[in-house]
């Protein structure tokens, strides 16, 4: 299978966009490109099942390997397993929904769609890379467009937010690079050459003391992307200043780059250090979960509410990774996918509300269910997914994290698990406060002429909801997909015990 098509397809779309004229052409091409991505993702899913059911148990499928820069032994080495495939599917869903909600983006539409799709190049490249250098390269590709998307099309204090986001993510990248370089220079194989190859490094044994030096760099670096406390402060400002589609990409895809990196690079390649630093990770994750949830309660702007709740929800990802049990790692991956879909849906709903009412302040909204039933229902479904209602993806992910965390018999870790469980009550409080004020309650006269969702908004929300419901109702589909991938990681970790 030609895995590079995942990168090439959006690149071609980007190039075609450059030759388009006017919003109408641009958006058609963008949508076509997004659909192609979706089709590709599903083709890979089908092929993946075929390979696996025909007994192919190799760690990575559809691998291809080309030397990129021989002097430093940098390769363009790609391949996917269930975890990457889950992330690719997530990306495809969020991209198509993001394009659809930006359907009427008048301002500099060509540049806007170009950047959106360029961002997806970075995301796909990141998820399929098996060479640490290429992986880093695509991580950077995914950062720059965000700066421009927020700085140009954003709202509020957008320059500040864009700068803050870019600086903090760049800082994260710098840390990641130190971690990766540290790994590279400690991978002396037989003939003395170093390697960036992820699978080769996984076969080696990096000395524990070296791991302990470089693990924090890699983990914190990736952690900044996924709102690791206390480096999460770019999240609220960045999300709330970004235009709708950029918020969706940022929370739905970009924050997942971090979680994926923490798992695939930091934990997988440095298992000794992952054990050693587990208490710190769990502590920070628990703080993020509880503190993020309480901080959300005090927010008055819908986007800030969702942004802070993302801090809390991404804490579950880190908690699952920190607990280092099979189930908890599965839970972390499930939570990444679930949170990506849910938060994209949430931002889409907020964007739809904002574009009609021109406010995101909870206090100024009310009773929207009466005039915009579709949008309000979407908002409520996103909220219910966020508070972990069974039947939607959030429940499955959170429960898997909780079950997995409880399997770690350490008493303090169990206390952390209980605190994490307790956050679902706080989540219910802030979600219902927001929903109760926004879509329920008396309708303000200013809004009695609002129109409900347009066809493109309906499709965007519908796609995300379908994905959320499928995971919520039939979680085994996703679970079976990611399980071989997490087995690979866990086998390496559990050997140490």
């Amino acid at each position: 299978m030609f895995l590079s098509s995942l990168i090439i397809a959006p690149l071609i779309t980007c190039v075609i966009i450059l030759f388009c004229r006017g919003l109408k052409q641009v958006r058609i091409i963008s949508l076509a490109g997004a659909i192609v991505q979706m089709i590709l993702a599903f083709i890979f899913l089908i092929q993946y099942w075929k390979e696996r059911s025909s007994g192919n148990t190799s760690a990575m499928l559809f691998e291809s390997d080309h030397t990129w820069f021989a002097a430093l032994n940098i390769h363009y080495h790609i391949g996917i397993d269930g975890i990457s495939l889950a992330m690719i599917l997530l990306t495809a869903f969020v991209v198509i929904a993001g394009v659809l909600v930006s359907w009427t983006m008048e301002k500099l539409s060509k540049e806007f769609f170009f950047l959106l799709l360029f961002l997806s190049v970075g995301a796909y490249g990141f998820f399929i890379s098996l060479d640490l250098f290429t992986l880093f390269f695509f991580l950077e590709v995914a950062v720059i467009p965000k700066f421009l998307l927020i700085g140009i099309w954003g709202s509020g204090k957008k320059e500040y937010s864009a700068m803050k986001l870019a600086l903090m993510l760049m800082g994260g990248s710098a840390l990641v690079f130190v971690g990766l370089a540290g790994l590279y220079f400690n991978t002396a194989n037989g003939n003395g050459a170093h390697t960036f190859d992820l699978l080769q490094i996984a076969q080696m044994h990096i000395p524990a003391n070296v791991q302990k030096i470089f693990f924090p760099f890699a983990f914190v670096g990736f952690g900044i992307f996924t709102a690791l406390f206390p480096f999460h402060t770019w999240v609220p400002d960045g999300h709330s200043s970004a235009p709708t589609a950029a918020s969706m990409f940022l929370a739905g895809i970009s924050m997942k780059l971090g979680g994926y990196g923490c798992l695939r690079v930091a934990t997988f390649l440095m298992p000794d250090a992952a054990h050693a630093y587990a208490p710190v990770i769990i502590l920070l994750a628990t703080i993020a979960i509880i503190y993020g949830a309480f901080a959300t309660m005090m927010q008055t702007d819908l986007k800030y509410i969702n942004a802070y709740s993302s801090v809390s929800h991404c804490g579950f990802v880190l908690l699952g990774i920190g607990m280092l049990t099979r189930t908890s790692i599965n839970g972390a991956v499930l939570q990444m996918v679930s949170h990506g879909l849910m938060t994209a849906l949430f931002f889409a709903a907020i964007g739809m509300i904002y574009s009609r009412t021109h406010t995101r302040l909870v206090a100024q909204l009310g009773g929207l269910l009466k005039v915009t039933p579709f949008i309000s229902t979407v908002f409520v479904i996103a909220g219910l997914c966020s508070l972990g209602l069974p039947g939607l993806s959030g429940f499955v992910a959170e429960m898997t994290v909780f079950m997995g965390s409880w399997q770690n018999p350490d008493k303090l870790y169990r206390l952390a698990t209980i605190l994490a469980c307790a956050s679902i009550v706080v989540t219910a409080v802030y979600i219902l406060r927001a929903a109760g004020k926004t879509v329920m309650g008396p309708l303000s006269n200013a809004y009695d002429k609002l129109t409900d969702a347009t066809w493109n908004e309906k499709i965007a929300a519908g796609l995300l909801i379908v994905a959320i419901v499928i995971i919520g109702v039939a979680p085994f589909l996703l679970y079976d997909l990611v399980k071989p991938g997490t087995e690979l990681i866990m086998n390496k970790i559990l050997i140490l015990k």
Partner: protein, 644 residues
């Protein structure tokens, strides 16, 4: 027979929910009600058929009802042995529950056809009712404790949606939020309980879990009893936490505060969810795990007994002072569920000792009929009067003769007057309490007296009190046929449900028991109940100032009871003052000023430092020359200094 046909019972309402939820507003705005009702009628018929088959044809083996797992699918496998399964468990209590749920739900559907007619979101209402019915059926049929939790949350959701049905009313929004959040808080206990029990029992399957934890030699039992936290074994912790979940759903003190507010929902919803079915889920949960409680952790049963008794008493006292008829009924529900909990608490496992268990399930069964009848009757009154307040009512017996008679039957049933249904079930509970604990028996007996007092206070205030206005205008108060039929059917059930020889079908260990009614024992409770009725007749039958004087007699105590013992205010204090002001507000402040402040400080410091040294990069050759020579001289000086 092949019991997998049972799957249809919950799936039919699910199909209705999906159909009406997606297309209701567009295509089924008026026909939605009929569609949902017909689907539920089919469910009810199937469940009656299956239940008949189970109890009378092939459920019994050697005098004991067996547990059958009709279906079981692995839904999510965490690790080998520990998985969430979706399945159908057949045993006496689940069979009884599906009959109760489908039957009451059917009655409520039929009643709603008339009651909700002309509502803006008519089909949405039926979609939510169907969702509730589906979830409740899934809950009672669960084979797996996590499956039970999933449906437990889903009934909470449908309760939330239906309480908030009138979403434009701020009070309804507040009530729906309160109901969801309070029960969610309790569910946290349930969840952690599941984590503990599931981890140590090494299974989430209910039957296996009960087996592992009641066998005192099994490694799982030894593991969970030797592990302890704060000196209490994890088994006790786990079961107590599960009970917290049950107490939240069943509105037990002090987690009951959401139930009276939940009356903001449409009245038929209160009849179904907040009287007959969902609120007894907590009782059902304890009954489901009863062998574990009774055989392995009897100390938790004592907690359950006390909580049940306190709830029954407090709710009955508050009910005597409320003036909103639905709130009186809500407190009455809480009080009766307290009775059921108390009965479970005094019960032991097996044979004659399990009388409390039988009484609890029996009362759950009969209560469903007469309490839903009371709510539907109240709904008919509210439909006519357009008010919930007692002071707006009175003298309605001539205007609403059918409602009057059926309401009276329900009142007699709940008061425990023979031969109405409540008498039989209440007698069993009282007898079980009498045998186990005289003090608890005293509380239960006193509560029984209060119950008949406040129920007849309600009855007289609605139907007597003021002079009855004759039906002069031809305008009469009864609703449509669809509102009358359920009243009549439920009245018949409230009359006859007590005659079911319950101990023949449902016992704590499944073995058939031939219990005998003890006539002599019944004399005292019936006399107490009659006393309550007479007292309320004396006070409320005619309009007068006796009630005011009676209230004055109790002074502050009356006022405290009227204000529901200020429990809501205490909660408000804890949530507003402590959670919001002491935790959430500081967290948000710290995040903005300290954590983010530090990040910004790093950035501005970097900026300032570079600002202050950027002048050095001036581009002027002279300056660079000075720096250069200055540097050379300094280095030379250092070099000479060291070299010496």
């Amino acid at each position: 027979m092949n019991y997998s046909i049972i799957a249809l019972i919950p799936l039919l309402p699910l199909a209705t929910f999906i159909l009406l939820g997606l297309f209701g507003r567009k295509y089924f705005q008026t026909s939605g009600g009929i569609i949902a009702t017909v689907a539920l009628l089919a469910s009810a018929i199937i469940s009656l058929y299956v239940t008949y088959h189970y109890f009378f044809i092939d459920g019994k083996v050697n005098g004991t009802y067996r547990h059958i797992t009709a279906l079981n699918y692995t839904w999510l496998e965490f690790s080998p042995g520990i998985s969430i399964d979706m399945g159908i468990l057949i045993d006496p209590i689940s069979m009884m529950m599906i009959v109760v749920v489908t039957f009451i739900s059917l009655m409520v559907h039929i009643f709603s056809l008339g009651y909700m007619k002309g509502e803006d979101r008519f089909s949405t209402y039926f979609a939510f009712l169907s969702l509730f019915t589906f979830s409740m059926l899934g809950l009672v049929l669960s084979t797996n404790i996590f499956q039970l939790y999933i449906f437990w949350e889903l009934v909470g959701l449908s309760s939330f949606l239906l309480i908030g049905y009138y979403f434009y009313k701020p009070s309804a929004v507040a009530a729906s939020k309160k109901a969801f959040i309070v029960t969610r808080f309790a569910d946290l206990g349930f969840l952690i309980g599941i984590l503990m029990l599931g981890f140590h029992a090494q299974t989430l399957d209910i039957s296996t879990l009960i087996q592992n934890l009641t066998n005192h030699q099994s490694p799982q039992f030894i593991g969970i009893t030797t592990a302890s936290f704060l000196g209490v074994s994890l088994l006790t912790w786990g079961l107590s936490l599960v009970f917290i979940g049950g107490a939240g759903k069943s509105a037990m003190f002090p987690l009951h505060i959401w139930l009276p507010d939940a009356m903001e929902g449409p009245t038929p919803v209160s009849a179904l969810i907040h009287a007959a079915t969902m609120v007894v889920a907590g009782v059902y949960l304890i009954a489901r795990l009863f062998p574990v409680y009774a055989l392995s952790a009897p100390q938790v049963l004592e907690i359950i007994m006390s909580v049940g008794a306190v709830s029954a008493l407090i709710a009955a006292i508050i009910a005597c002072t409320q003036t909103d008829i639905k709130r009186v009924l809500a407190y009455s529900t809480m009080s009766q569920i307290g009775y059921m909990m108390l009965a479970l608490g005094v019960s032991k496992y097996g044979g004659e000792d399990g009388l409390g268990y039988i009484g609890s399930m029996f009362h759950l069964f009969t209560h469903a009929f007469f309490k839903s009848l009371l709510f539907l009757g109240a709904g008919a009154v509210i439909h006519f009067i357009h008010s919930n307040e007692m002071k707006d009512m009175g003298g309605l017996r001539k205007l609403m003769p059918l409602t009057h008679i059926t309401f009276l039957i329900a009142c007699l049933a709940i008061a425990g007057i023979p031969p109405f249904a409540g008498f039989f079930s209440k007698e069993e509970i009282l007898l079980a309490a009498f045998r186990a604990n005289k003090f608890i028996y005293g509380i239960a007996l006193f509560t029984a007296g209060l119950t008949s007092f406040y129920m007849f206070r309600l009855y007289f205030s609605i139907f007597w009190n003021k002079p009855s206005t004759e039906n002069k205008t031809g305008h009469h108060g009864e609703g449509t046929w669809s509102m009358k039929i359920p009243l009549v059917v439920l009245a018949v059930c409230s009359l006859l449900a007590g005659l079911v020889p319950f101990a023949n079908y449902i016992t704590s260990d499944g073995a058939v028991l031939n219990a005998t009614n003890n006539i002599m024992f019944s004399i005292v409770p019936v006399a107490v109940s009659l006393g309550g009725i007479l007292l309320s007749a004396y006070l409320y039958k005619k309009e007068n100032d006796k009630p005011v004087r009676a209230a004055a007699l109790f002074g502050t105590f009356y006022k405290a009871a009227h204000k529901k013992f200020y429990i809501d205010e205490m909660y408000l204090f804890v949530t507003q003052r402590i959670l919001f002001n002491l935790i959430a507000r500081p967290a948000a402040w710290v995040d903005k000023n300290i954590v983010d402040g530090f990040m910004n400080l790093t950035a501005t410091t970097t900026g300032k430092v570079s600002e202050s040294i950027k002048a050095m990069q001036s581009g002027r050759l002279q300056s660079y020359a000075i720096y250069f020579f200055g540097g050379v001289i300094a280095m030379a000086a250092l070099f000479i200094y060291w070299w010496k």
